[in-house]
């Protein structure tokens, strides 16, 4: 539903809906009121998606084997190999049962916890309620098992400024936007630099414009009138939405040129490279949220050999984002959130792999997050315990409440996205009846 339609409906229904100035852009002004001219300087959200279903027992919710002869080990590392840093627990090493001299991993996993435990919030025992990849990813990032809700990055971008050229920057993961903010890609950074100056044949030469600046102004002026005429005459919500999105995207596209200033000359590859572009986009004031995507977690076979490197890749990227943000002086503005489709089964299958398991975890650190905390818990078989509304663990048999993605989204919305004062909250209401004070 279009926001304007929603407001119309809400008005009819007597609902009280606050439409903050940041939501502008549906008022047919399309950038005329400087909506996008202001660089975004609020909190920046980097959302790490571990595609395929990570195994929390291999890092933030460790279980371990009961001994070398455990007939049905949860993990191949022993319980005695579980380390601690503050309130966090994690495996220190990953032996290869078939090769006493060998093992997996390069030490990144324990190093991550040891370096960041004071900043890190882990939520264990999150019930994904599904074993399907699409459903799990959607549940993690939209807060709802069924479809129709926007991914967290789009929700946050739509909250603060959907007209920025990279308002919601996505390198992958769950990217359904429900129309609240367009998804941007940055797959070809080199080309972005010339696209930042679309009227110049040479982006380094301000005198290389195809038309005079006056002509360009006149075109823009005519376009603005044309856009208004088109949208005011359109009655189908879908087409009206398409028009609005195009016109809004145009209004913020000039700001793309700021990106060039902040992109590092030598960019890394992989997750680190994604982080660098995301932080540059934020520093340029043109991005609110970024999906960072990394895969390799769907380890139905040869679990340890494949899951551990994937986790290392992810945690290295998170660590890099945290440290680079601080190095750049924006550490207090950046929030990192990591999640996955679901968890992986307790123990190993015949192929030494682990299949899908509906209990997962999420991790966060950064601006406004009190670290050195673990919320929620699971039993020895990685079944979720319940949770009380004071965040204490409920180990009773008749569990009343389990942590769902909706609880986490609800807390994030409350802490970072204007809570119920956000018109998007009314458009996409979460179904959790209880609130969990995840951020205090």
């Amino acid at each position: 539903m279009d926001r304007r339609d929603f407001l119309k409906l809400a008005s009819c229904a007597g609902m009280s809906v606050v439409a903050p100035a940041a939501f502008g852009g549906r008022d047919l002004s399309f950038g005329r009121r400087g909506i996008a001219a202001e660089a975004y300087e609020g909190t920046f959200f980097i959302l790490f998606n571990a595609g395929g279903g990570w195994d929390p027992t291999s890092f933030c919710d460790p279980k371990g084997a009961n001994g070398e002869n455990d007939p049905d080990p949860m993990n191949h590392y022993l319980k005695s190999m579980i380390g601690e840093a503050g309130n966090h627990r994690f495996p220190m090493e990953f032996p290869n049962p078939n090769d006493p001299e060998g093992g997996y991993g390069t030490g990144i996993i324990p190093a991550f916890f040891e370096e960041h435990y004071q900043d890190l919030l882990v939520i264990n025992g999150v019930d994904m309620q599904t074993n399907g990849h699409d459903q799990g990813t959607r549940h993690t990032w939209s807060g709802r098992l069924s479809d129709g809700f926007p991914t967290m990055g789009a929700y946050l971008a739509g909250t603060y400024n959907s007209t920025l050229p990279m308002s919601f920057l996505a390198f992958g993961g769950y990217t359904y936007t429900a129309g609240v903010a367009p998804q941007s890609r940055a797959s070809n950074i080199g080309a972005l630099e010339e696209l930042a100056f679309p009227a110049l044949s040479n982006s380094d030469d301000p005198n290389s414009s195809y038309l005079s600046s006056k002509s360009l102004e006149l075109i823009e002026e005519a376009q603005w009138h044309r856009d208004q005429a088109l949208i005011s005459g359109q009655g189908l919500p879908k087409i009206e939405h398409s028009m609005t999105t195009l016109f809004e995207s145009r209004s913020g596209s000039n700001e793309l040129k700021r990106l060039k200033e902040f992109l590092p000359e030598d960019r890394s590859g992989g997750v680190r490279g994604q982080v660098e572009v995301a932080l540059a986009a934020y520093r340029a004031g043109i991005s609110v949220a970024a999906n960072i995507s990394t895969g390799g977690f769907d380890t139905h076979g040869d679990h340890d050999a494949r899951q551990i490197p994937s986790l290392e890749n992810l945690l290295d990227g998170m660590s890099y984002a945290r440290n680079l943000g601080q190095e750049l002086g924006i550490g207090d503005k950046v929030v990192l959130i990591a999640g996955s489709d679901f968890g992986r089964t307790p123990g190993y299958n015949d192929g030494n792999g682990k299949d899908h398991w509906s209990i997962s975890s999420m991790m966060m650190m950064g601006a406004g997050i009190e670290g050195n905390r673990v919320i929620g818990a699971t039993d020895e078989g990685h079944r979720a315990y319940g949770i009380n509304t004071d965040l204490s663990v409920d180990q009773s048999e008749d569990v009343r409440l389990k942590i769902l993605p909706a609880h986490i989204h609800s807390a994030i919305r409350k802490r970072y996205a204007l809570g119920a004062d956000n018109e998007l909250a009314a458009m996409f209401p979460l179904t959790n009846e209880e609130e969990l004070p995840i951020f205090g």
């Binding site: 074993n131 129309g179 195809y210």
Partner: protein, 776 residues
Amino acid sequence: MIRARFKRNLGLGLTALVTSLTVSACYDGSDDENGDCVSDEEFFRETVYAPILSDNCSSCHNSSGAAKDTSFVLRSPESGPDYLEANLEAFTQMSKLQFEGQSWILLKPTLGIEHEGGERFKVDGEEYKAFVEMMERLENPVACEEGDQTEEFFDGVELLDERATLRKATLALAGRLPTIDEENRVQEGSWEALDTILDEVMTDPVFYDRLREIYNDKFLTDRYYGGSQALDLLDYDEEEGGDFPNAYWFDALPEGEERDQAREYSNNGVARQPLEMLVHIVKNDLPYTELLTADYTMVNPFSAQSLGVDASFSNPNDYNEYVTARIPGMPHAGVLTSVVYLNRFPTTDTNRNRHRARMLYEFFLATDVQALGNRPVDATAITGHNATLNDPECTICHDVIDPVAGSFKNWDDMGRYRPPEQGWFPDMLPPGFGESQMPAENDPAALQWGVREVVQDPRFALSAVYIMFEGLSGQKPLREPDNPDDENYLGGIEAAKTQRAVFNDIAQQFTDTNYNLKVVVKEIIKSPYYRAYNYEALGLDDDQAQARLYELENVGMGRLLTPEQLNRKIIAVTGLRWSQGQGDEAVDYLLDENRYMTLYGGINSDDIVQRVTEPNGIMANVAKRMANQMACRAAPWDFTKSAADRILFPLVEPTMQPEDLNGFEVPSAASAIRNNIQYMVSRLWGEYLEADDPEVERIYQLFLDVWRDGQVGLQLPDDDENRYGTNLGQCNVNNNALTGEELPEEQRLSEDPTYTIRAWMAVTNYMLSDFRFLHE
């Protein structure tokens, strides 16, 4: 455009039903508060099934749920298009069972008799009253006089007429504008003529490019296009029993261009096996069922050698010539047994072909199997042995997937035909499809047996409609909403029901014409979903208007063109490519991954597989850059030609200035300029406007303002930094814009002393960056 209107309708019943259920508990007849007749089917769907059965009962009462063994088992929308009828029947049967004179359907959920699911609602609660009302209706059925449901749904929606539909279709299918002859024929012959013209359009090679794009968006097999990526999938190791020892036959050629080309052509022949099979089937009007049942594959002269098959070609050097061929010893099953398809959708020892089965359901049975698990499951409650076979939390999906997975049993993780020596996994359901189990004698060709079953399923025909609809409209087929708490739940139900009826009708025509895919294309193009462009609510109050908008939420064009489509449209309307360089060495900006293809929302079939369908700031700048560059390239180039040969400015000359030296309008010039603007609007936007239309006036004003600014700039002193020169600068025409070859001096164009060419560049720029140009 001509407005076509359906008669007034509207889901007034929807609004009223919501009100009656949530506000009033008074059910006093078959009419709603507005006096509109509510049929039994409508009542059941909107008052019983959606808010009560679906929300409150179906989590247990489904085929795999806790109540799966009771006599009251409900179906979900994912189970098939007839789920509502089946659920009404289940409700009817349950209502007939009585205990002490009361119906079980009322006693069970109110705990009037034992119910393991506990009390679901109170006696005399709203749900209870809805059940009573439904039972009364079963006793005294209510049938309403109904018009055409689809027409009623689209009441007030404005649809493209035949001429505008023709333009949209020729651009979409063949990447070109309609010819004058085609426009005349469709104006004289109406929709019947459009059918004939579309048949002709579908012989255009560009149509087959479009088909490849649409199906590659699903199959993603172009991941292996280029390099030797497809060849590398072939098992060539003869000593190890490899099937294709000749895969790299070209290595015997001398090093050089010929060998490189042979490698490329061989690879691309293998990579394109599935897509070329589709092209072969459609081009030759063969039944679409062959996409699954064909006992052959497709080869070009080069890939035939790699695959070691005998095939004859009319031109053995033409890498674009594809013919059918059989690979010895391999039981083909259409696209499913091509090595690229099997590797694009791989399997593992523990996945056991379930991924392949899931994709078969998605592509060929219009079913998202994973959506069966949309309801919350508690996987941690699974404690029994072999959960995928025995536990309802798992079997809800696995009962559907696993038999089909079994039919892929003879194809290993590398896509090779390798029947398992130990047979199929005994801890899985045996190979089969639906209720049918594969007879043992079909074991060596299990997949061939499976696909014969699949193409008999009504969902197979529907799947082709789904794929083509998504390809042509950019929209996914509607799924019935599954959350009754959503505000637009009922509107979504109505919208999905209507679309399903339209699609079922197209699927039936498809089946009746021996699965000719061109029929699907034509029917989609003529459907209101493809032609809807506006809506006007008449005579509705605010609530009704809002309810109506909920229903129409997903109706209408407004699709952002894909990079491939935009590329073709630019060529169609300007005659020129938007490319870096010209001629053979040119690189199309929108088709090259290293340029703007993925930035503009395209896919690379590898790690970027989802199209971006809504523009963002980067895409807006791609469009701006295109408009700037193409205006600079196309406008001056057009003026190098005689008026009769021009495609953008046939009605004006650069010498035509809108005002004289005293600032008075030059009527003849102004009129010609307006006429040319009208012409450009029709060519670039497909709109046929009158000369006094406000949009024509707006564009004329833009031309005039730019021209006037030019006059001021041209008059400034030579030493003024703001002075405009008469030279077109980087927009000079020194080379042939098509070939890149240098032009003879007399054909070159570099001077614009009147500033009119630049004014026309501004107009072209404005029009190329407009919504109507960038969207379908």
